[in-house]
């Protein structure tokens, strides 16, 4: 059972454009929702995270929008740059238990 569903699988955006990746979860007990960025040959690294008591969190060009009633959250990358080209994973966890990851989105930002 996939508890966190992520879309799209791949995304191509022009430089300067907005990249949007969506995730939906099933378990209402999840209380921590991070986004991870992974470059080829590297481990995932935390990009930004949100907790369910907040509807939006912004850090630089990266914003998480969180809709608790719909059980959905999304990552917005403003002014996308070629250096943002990577695989992005949404995830969710309950307390200190393991992170459950979405299936990943391969983002390509064209110069």
């Amino acid at each position: 059972q996939q508890q966190v569903k992520q879309s799209p699988q791949s995304l191509i955006v022009q430089k300067g454009g907005i990249s949007i990746i969506n995730c939906a979860y099933e378990n209402t007990a999840f209380d921590y929702f991070p986004w991870y960025q992974q470059f080829p040959g590297k481990g995932p690294a935390l990009l930004i995270a949100i907790r369910p008591d907040v509807s939006e969190k912004k850090e630089g060009r990266f914003t998480i929008s969180f809709n608790k009633s719909a059980k959905q959250f999304s990552l917005h990358i403003m002014d996308s740059q070629p250096g943002d080209s990577a695989t992005y994973f949404c995830a969710a966890s309950i307390s200190a238990r393991q992170l459950t990851f979405g299936s990943g989105t391969q983002l390509t930002v064209l110069p």
Partner: protein
């Protein structure tokens, strides 16, 4: 200093062999994990471990076993390796319900 370090980075071995992957974290975290990333980049939890509890993903074959000599180390032992075990294995650590830090990964190839 590397926060979560894994060795080796690459591991090529024959079917039927037994191998180990080592993981060390210097962050003082109380929980460590092993994840498997398949060819489609899906990240699947294998084990979650702290000094009190080992949680095993029920889908993980019992040929895989975690060994924790102390709080800073969680090694992964794999017996009787199979072709399907080929993947990238990531170690991660975490303290409470916060950011998880990942190692650089170990690419295991079984031939």
């Amino acid at each position: 200093d590397t926060a979560v370090s894994q060795t080796p980075k690459y591991l090529v071995t024959q079917m039927g062999n037994d191998k180990s992957i080592k993981c060390e974290q210097n962050l003082g975290h109380d929980t460590m994990y092993w994840y498997k990333q398949d060819s489609k980049k899906f990240l699947k939890i294998m084990f979650s471990y702290n000094n009190k509890e080992l949680i095993i993903n029920e889908t993980v074959p019992n040929r895989f076993s975690p060994k924790s000599p102390d709080k800073a180390h969680l090694n992964l032992h794999i017996n009787s390796l199979e072709l399907g075990d080929s993947a990238v294995y990531f170690c991660a650590s975490r303290s409470g319900n916060t950011e998880a830090f990942f190692g650089q990964g170990t690419r295991l190839t079984v031939v």
